[in-house]
């Protein structure tokens, strides 16, 4: 599975540069952290070089009432400009941000969202009532603009996060969005903040499509073992036997075995027993790709936990593969 977070950062880099993602696709190899630092510096450069213009625009504010700002902006100011200027103006006139936002259409806000200065969003976010942002967030979900939506999660206050979750009915969209949050630490904060029953609804959407499953596994694989166990159990309990087989087929087809093995290293016995008893998993070809993935990505713990519940030929196969891999690792260490 390609790194979803790195791909999200790549899309954000492309948006910052105003080019299609294909133009910068070759930079995906840099990884999420490097792409983020590169994008942030470019974004800062673009904003900072217009700081003087934004400052002059800010001095215009007293001359123009909120209603007119909203009306004129939506009529003639392209989202690129409105998004770029909004942060600077909002920071200079925080008391007016609410008023202007409440006069803007959700569509226009969603258009402008990719162009906002994240530094100013961090400053402004706590003072904007979530009720003003929920329609725009729903518009982003409708457009499947999960990458843009994800970076708002970086700055939302705990109260705003709860309100946003409650106000967004598209739980599958929320799963996509949450899986793209860049920092593992922040992701964990968000997951811990949401009540279990509300998280369960989001996690269960993972079985609705292969893309959602990939988003769900990618998210789970980034959490601490305790949370993986809780959420992994919710996911596996939701699957009947055919559903589990389908999930395993998708995992193999989408090259997401390392993520599944990370989850397997943490989930409880019931889930492991069911995975080990799945007829697709116990096929020799499937076991082989699982062992290969464990070797390549060092995910032995998950594989060994599943193997404890294998029986018959499947158990022997995995044990033989584990012995061979251990021997080979020992040989390469010795040489």
């Amino acid at each position: 599975m390609s790194d979803l977070v790195a791909r999200a950062q790549l899309i954000m880099l492309a948006e910052t540069l105003g080019v299609p993602p294909e133009r910068v696709r070759h930079l995906e190899r840099l990884g999420a952290d490097h792409l983020r630092s590169l994008r942030e510096r470019i974004s800062n450069l673009l904003f900072d070089e217009q700081a003087a213009t934004f400052a002059r625009m800010s001095r215009l504010a007293p001359l123009v009432p909120n209603g007119l700002v909203a009306k004129v902006s939506q009529a003639i100011v392209p989202p690129l400009v409105a998004g770029r200027a909004a942060g600077a103006l909002g920071v200079d006139h925080p008391g007016r941000a609410k008023g202007v936002l409440s006069d803007l259409s959700p569509q226009y806000m969603a258009d402008c969202a990719p162009f906002l200065d994240q530094r100013t969003v961090a400053v402004l976010a706590p003072s904007i009532p979530p009720a003003l942002l929920i329609p725009a967030a729903n518009e982003l979900m409708r457009r499947k603009a999960y990458v843009t939506a994800s970076w708002f999660l970086d700055y939302a206050t705990p109260e705003a996060l709860l309100d946003l979750e409650a106000g967004i009915p598209d739980k599958a969209g929320l799963l996509h969005t949450t899986s793209l949050v860049q920092s593992d630490e922040r992701l964990e904060q968000i997951v811990r903040l949401l009540p279990t029953e509300r998280l369960a609804v989001i996690v269960r959407t993972a079985v609705e499509s292969p893309e959602l499953l990939m988003a769900g596994l990618s998210l789970l694989a980034r959490l601490c073992p305790e949370l993986v166990a809780d959420l992994g159990d919710i996911l596996f309990e939701h699957l009947d036997d055919d559903g589990l087989t389908e999930v395993l087929r998708t995992v193999v087809g989408q090259d997401a075995i390392p993520e599944l093995l990370t989850v397997a290293a943490a989930v409880r016995e019931d889930a492991l027993r069911r995975i080990a008893a799945d007829p697709f998993l116990t096929e020799p070809a499937t076991l082989e790709v699982f062992v290969d993935a464990a070797v390549e990505h060092d995910r032995w713990e998950g594989l060994l936990r599943v193997a404890e519940h294998l029986t018959g030929e499947a158990e022997h196969r995995v044990n033989r593969a584990v012995k061979a891999a251990t021997k080979s690792a020992g040989n390469s260490k010795a040489s």
């Binding site: 910052t16 540069l17 105003g18 080019v19 133009r23 910068v24 070759h26 930079l27 840099l30 490097h34 792409l35 630092s37 590169l38 510096r41 470019i42 450069l45 673009l46 070089e49 217009q50 213009t53 002059r56 625009m57 001095r59 215009l60 001359l63 123009v64 007119l68 004129v72 009529a75 003639i76 100011v77 392209p78 690129l80 400009v81 770029r84 200027a85």
Partner: protein, 96 residues
Amino acid sequence: MNAAGVFRQFSAAWQRCRKGRDVRDRNVDAKTALRKQLGPDLPVLDLLTEQESAELQVLIDDARATQRKALDASISEVLGRLPRLARGPARKIMFG
């Protein structure tokens, strides 16, 4: 081959060599320029090839130009939409 032919061949080879060097120099310059623009403390720049640095420099320059153009056009349009009484002071604020 007569002397003129040898000279033409040598001249063409020299031009090819210079062209290659120019591209390389430009790329090296692009990497240095990128570091100058984005800051020296950005480890990701070490991971970019010369060619990638040059391409990224072009994309950044294009984005800056697009942004400047869009901003200038919008300011003119917005000023034209302001109430008549506000237009004079607004122009003064924006353009001095």
